[in-house]
Chain length 369, copies 2
Amino acid sequence: MKCSFNKSDILNGINIVSKAVPVRTTMTILECILITADQERICLTANDMELGIETEVTGFVETPGCLAIDAKLFSEIIRKLPESLVTIDADEDDHVEIRCEKSVFHISGKDGVEFPALPQISKDRSISLSQFTLKEMIRQTIFSIAQSDSNKMMNGECLEVQGDHVRLTSLDGHRISLRSVMLGQAFQDEKVIIPGKTLSEVSKILTGDQDSEVSLYFTSNTVLFAFDQTIVVSRLVEGEYFRIDQMMTTDYEIKLQVSKKEMLECLERSLLLVRENDKKPLILDIRDDEMNLSMNSSIGALQESIPIQKKGPDLMIAFNPRFMLDALRVIDEETVTLYMINSKAPCFIRDEEGSYIYLILPVNFSTAR
Amino acid sequence: MKCSFNKSDILNGINIVSKAVPVRTTMTILECILITADQERICLTANDMELGIETEVTGFVETPGCLAIDAKLFSEIIRKLPESLVTIDADEDDHVEIRCEKSVFHISGKDGVEFPALPQISKDRSISLSQFTLKEMIRQTIFSIAQSDSNKMMNGECLEVQGDHVRLTSLDGHRISLRSVMLGQAFQDEKVIIPGKTLSEVSKILTGDQDSEVSLYFTSNTVLFAFDQTIVVSRLVEGEYFRIDQMMTTDYEIKLQVSKKEMLECLERSLLLVRENDKKPLILDIRDDEMNLSMNSSIGALQESIPIQKKGPDLMIAFNPRFMLDALRVIDEETVTLYMINSKAPCFIRDEEGSYIYLILPVNFSTAR
């Protein structure tokens, strides 16, 4: 195989597919990036067997072929080359020469035939939306997937299509994050659970452009994201997702509006008094036009009051400040609305249109002091 | 003690003195920042017993006194407060209230009297130079102090004053870095060894301003740096420094000039093939108007050629590319001049005026392949 690229083109391709190179693996071939060059196109591929990424790179093919090169070394070498034409030339024994101006690297490659191919996905079940929308939906929900491996379903997010609506939901047993967006047209209904890692890597590669589209194709056990010159293929999590709608009451006793910035900064300050992995509650004493927030820990104490607009009775309720903070951080509005029933029932942070809902369970604060 | 500050003033002071707070210590009082407030001024102090920093902070004293607060918590709290007036109020039992707008923190302080005072330094032996010059001299030599603790002297740098010249030297057994600068006036001769950590922390605090001065005061076992509102006091390393001048020959057989950028980039590329802690030599094959550089390792091989201007015979010589790279990185000139004698003798990188000299020992490359 012999082909040439502009350094910036090949580097861009490497940066995209590298996200599917596993950090640890027993199959050394997976630590490689596969280059496939035929007369029509040049592709880079990486695959950790759960997640695979393939991207097309502009370049000139002199001799078609395929070749696998250690991803880390390949990426480092290309990054350090001058901004010029890069030629990659591999002989039959997979000895690789990488040449750029007066630099010549010789490294060992691997036979590209050993590299596991990405699965072929049929394209009859699909949706399309803007890259911006998908990137935002992921950012606004990914933080509340469960971190432990005990429940695979909680490590993923549920993506549901109903007519012209798409909804992305994550939950970890203490909170639920939900974003819902209207699509430009109606699609066939879908309900799949996508691994959190897949969504997180996809969101890093998406340019977030309002005018560029991303298409999702579904089979019973895989999802494929296609956008720009790239496809990302991932396994789905198997199983029936939690029944979210049953938990999403719109009843409330207390509705309060507060400045997001003021509350966010107070939450950040309260966390200074909580050691990592500690679960100290932040107590909210909600009365009339003021919310008093207090945190007590072995490190110290914080009291603070924030002006609010409230409908309904006074209430004393406590939360894990981290969970409140995570939700407020991804809300774009300057004023947020909190809905509560009593000190034992979940608090909802949502807008009028239901485009976002953050459910956070309160914590018992009789045990707090 | 009770006093008030603008958040930005107290935060700036904390950031300065924090550099002398030890990461690990058995004396918990040293993990604190000392606040000393009398009618005239407010000072913050930190002290790890080797290095002490004191800085004056603008503020208003309501009740004079002194108080020690855990540096990490203090810094985190102040950083997260609104940009407003911060009031610190401590009672006789060192319970501390930190108040800013509607936030009130309560934390425990420590009795300031327990905090070890900085040594008093007599001010009869001194030099002055611009902050910019000192900061640059440190940056340009600090990288070649020894990292291991086996020789205290190699962990420090030798600062020598001779008339109106100041010279800063570091060495680690494989290389010597030397910067020399002319001062605006003559001072009393000095020769001291300053710990590398002190110089590194001082250089972080120096603004690097051309027009601001820094004064150094010497005693037999301490040095004090005074600049802006800050003083840094440090122990000196005891002993007689290595006889540098004996090693600094100006004889040479080969003089070659090369583009710093081209050589630097080639050195960076060659290091991609060297694993951390590995000592693979980069072989320089110097002939006529070209230098061929080659690196061979278990990872791969690199060949590269760079145009040069040479006087003297051809030469084959090898170096640890890291040492070459460190020196070239801190030279500002676009073209550097290398002086060599043979493949066993040190290479000198220096300018005509002797304002910088980097000596690098070659490595044996008969064992290289």
